[in-house]
């Protein structure tokens, strides 16, 4: 059992508090992704899990053992860094074996373990090279091999794909997913890339300013964003937001009064709410009788291949929508937008909390 329990973790540098009471229960074999903008504290928490940053207050357990103050080498964790962090003066073979030399294994056992991992990651041709003689992608695969060979209880990844170009990034992402399916080691993976988070995670921890804004499966995060921040951060292009004042089901917005008669939500206490809808949930043809209708003029289009992103000016407010390429409308043409109420989100403008009852 290699579960991780974080209880009220905080981190303070002199006067600056960067993590505020972080709680998380990671189940055995789970793949957790910390996602958030830069400076949100996600890397700091990962480094606290690794033992590279002291925990100011709170407790941390890995596999049921309290490791709050344990040395990094005693926590049963292995880490992969953004800049690979290979030992530049050692060959690939020595890099991978370096961590095992402390474990009291015999030379033959170390060789066997190293060879297994080398096989798994197809690194055999590079064994006698130094890191500087390899591409970034290969170096990161060596770093992953170095982590795997220790058979740790927990893998920690600190933005491991951020230094790679787009194509390699995707390849290695798939490789990491496959490795997790095979090894089933509990994993915490930090990234600012939502695509990586959505594709890899069992659960995403969406971080904002030192707090977990929402913890949930990729699907939950995407379809039921708990707050405005989450709704805005996840999804591409970003969700459309319409600030409004509410009177019962009627929402007074800059694009006119929208009657939310087919929605179930708790009215906001302040009376002001923000409506949110994803560009993909707006259609150019009516799907339901309850669809909300907006009229506007296309002001900008962006060809994405099989889809087109259109920006539509509705009474001075720009709404972006994504439609299948053949259905796209050219710039300058007037068009009608149909917003499906089942995909509409209502947020309290003051607290930022989502008010939908689902």
């Amino acid at each position: 059992m290699s579960n991780i329990t974080c209880k009220k973790l905080t981190k303070k540098y002199a006067d600056l508090q960067v993590v505020h009471g972080f709680d998380l229960e990671v189940k055995d074999e789970e793949f957790i992704v910390f996602l958030g903008p830069s400076g949100c504290g996600k890397s700091t928490i990962l480094r606290m899990l690794a033992g590279l940053e002291d925990i100011t207050t709170g407790t941390l357990e890995i596999g049921g053992r309290d490791v709050t103050t344990a040395e990094p080498g005693e926590r049963g964790v292995a880490m992969v860094f953004q800049n690979y962090a290979l030992y530049p003066h050692m060959t690939v073979r020595k890099n991978i074996a370096f961590g095992l030399r402390r474990s009291g294994l015999s030379a033959e056992e170390i060789d066997t373990k190293v060879n297994d991992v080398v096989q798994m990651l197809a690194l055999a041709p590079y064994l006698d090279r130094k890191p500087a003689q390899m591409s970034g992608g290969q170096q990161q695969r060596v770093a992953i091999a170095r982590a795997i060979v220790k058979t740790p209880e927990v893998f920690l990844f600190d933005e491991p794909l951020s230094n790679l170009d787009a194509k390699l990034r995707q390849q290695l992402r798939v490789e990491i997913a496959k490795l997790h399916k095979k090894l089933k080691t509990t994993t915490v993976f930090v990234t600012h890339d939502q695509l990586e988070a959505m594709t890899l995670a069992d659960r995403i921890v969406l971080m904002n300013a030192g707090n977990a804004e929402q913890i949930g499966t990729p699907q939950e995060i995407y379809t039921k964003p708990r707050t405005l921040f989450v709704a805005d951060f996840i999804g591409s292009p970003s969700m459309n937001f319409l600030p409004s004042t509410m009177e019962g089901p009627a929402a007074k917005t800059s694009v006119g009064i929208l009657t939310l008669d087919a929605m179930d939500f708790t009215p906001s206490t302040s009376g002001s709410a923000t409506l949110g809808i994803r560009p993909q949930n707006i259609s150019l043809v009516r799907q339901n009788d309850s669809d909300l209708v907006l009229n506007g003029t296309v002001v900008f289009t962006e060809y994405l291949g099989n889809e087109v992103m259109m920006v539509v000016d509705c009474a001075g407010t720009e709404i972006s929508i994504v439609v299948d390429a053949p259905n796209a409308v050219a710039e300058g043409i007037e068009t009608t937008l149909y917003l499906a109420q089942e995909f509409l989100h209502v947020f309290d403008s003051e607290s930022g909390l989502r008010l939908n009852n689902d």
């Binding site: 080498g73 005693e74 880490m79 860094f81 800049n83 003066h89 370096f98 961590g99 402390r102």
Partner: protein, 275 residues
């Protein structure tokens, strides 16, 4: 287009080479002339028209090496400089490693203190040291000169080694911590080998600094602990006619160890300026 570019490069590189050659001749000629003179008889040196071709003689070198003062100076220089550099490296390199990791005001103050050791003119330090060593009965001993030189090598090695350790990526040492290694193991197995080439340069630099040192040695020694630069300078006092050949030969003997290391050092300087 291709030919034009080739022409331009050729023209540019030729003019650069001409300038470079002039500078090299200007810098190297005195050294070459000294080398030639060290193989000449005095008559060939003092002739009004400089001689490029002459019958070489090893007489000057024989004279230099047969003098007991030169042998003593050579062994003094060897022992004192080697000890001072070894002690400076033994204490300076770990100190630099610690300072490179000390990201606080205290660390900055210590770094500045180390650098400030090099601000004082050597004479200002040598006179008080002279009276201290006289009181302790250590004046004109290898021990006292070694101790004094350690002050120079230690500060130089610390100051040059701090950037070498700062260039070792922090994540590499963190990876070693996660691999279960303690601070001493990380220093010896990771930081030292990675920073090694630059540290070697720092050691060589401090060697040349104390090998060539003249002023302090002049003030702290009179006979027993005289180093080679002092002995060589005394050749100018041999009688009324300056023995040019012997003087040149002693300069060559003095220059050989630093010259050997200079080849090594140039690699280090390249590394420093590349970053």
């Amino acid at each position: 287009m291709g030919a034009q570019m080739a022409n331009r490069i050729t023209f540019g590189s030729i003019s650069a080479r001409v300038v470079l050659a002039c500078v090299v001749i200007f810098a190297v000629f005195p050294v070459v002339w000294t080398l030639l003179n060290s193989f000449k008889e005095v008559v060939d040196i003092v002739t009004p028209t400089p001689k490029l071709f002459f019958t070489p003689t090893l007489e000057n070198f024989r004279y230099v090496f047969e003098r007991p003062s030169v042998r003593l100076g050579l062994s003094n220089s060897g022992i004192i400089v080697f000890s001072a550099v070894a002690l400076g490296a033994l204490f300076g390199i770990p100190a630099a490693y610690a300072l490179a990791h000390m990201k606080s005001r205290v660390g900055d103050e210590i770094k500045f203190f180390v650098l400030s050791l090099r601000f004082l003119p050597p004479v200002a330090v040598a006179i008080p040291l002279m009276s201290i060593y006289l009181d302790l009965g250590l004046y004109d001993t290898r021990l006292s000169l070694t101790m004094t030189y350690v002050l120079l090598t230690l500060s130089t090695i610390i100051w040059l080694s701090i950037p070498a350790f700062e260039r070792v990526p922090q994540n590499i040492e963190e990876a070693a911590r996660l691999d279960g290694y303690g601070p001493y193991a990380i220093f010896f197995l990771v930081a030292l080998p990675v920073a090694g080439p630059s540290l070697f340069g720092a050691i060589i630099f401090s060697f040349i600094l104390v090998w060539n040192e003249f002023l302090i040695a002049l003030m702290l020694t009179t006979s027993e602990a005289k180093t080679l630069p002092i002995v060589a300078s005394e050749f100018t006092l041999l009688g009324r006619n300056v023995p040019w050949g012997i003087l040149n030969a002693s300069v060559i003997v003095l220059s050989i160890p630093p010259l050997i290391f200079l080849g090594v050092l140039s690699g280090f300087l390249n590394r420093m300026f590349k970053k």
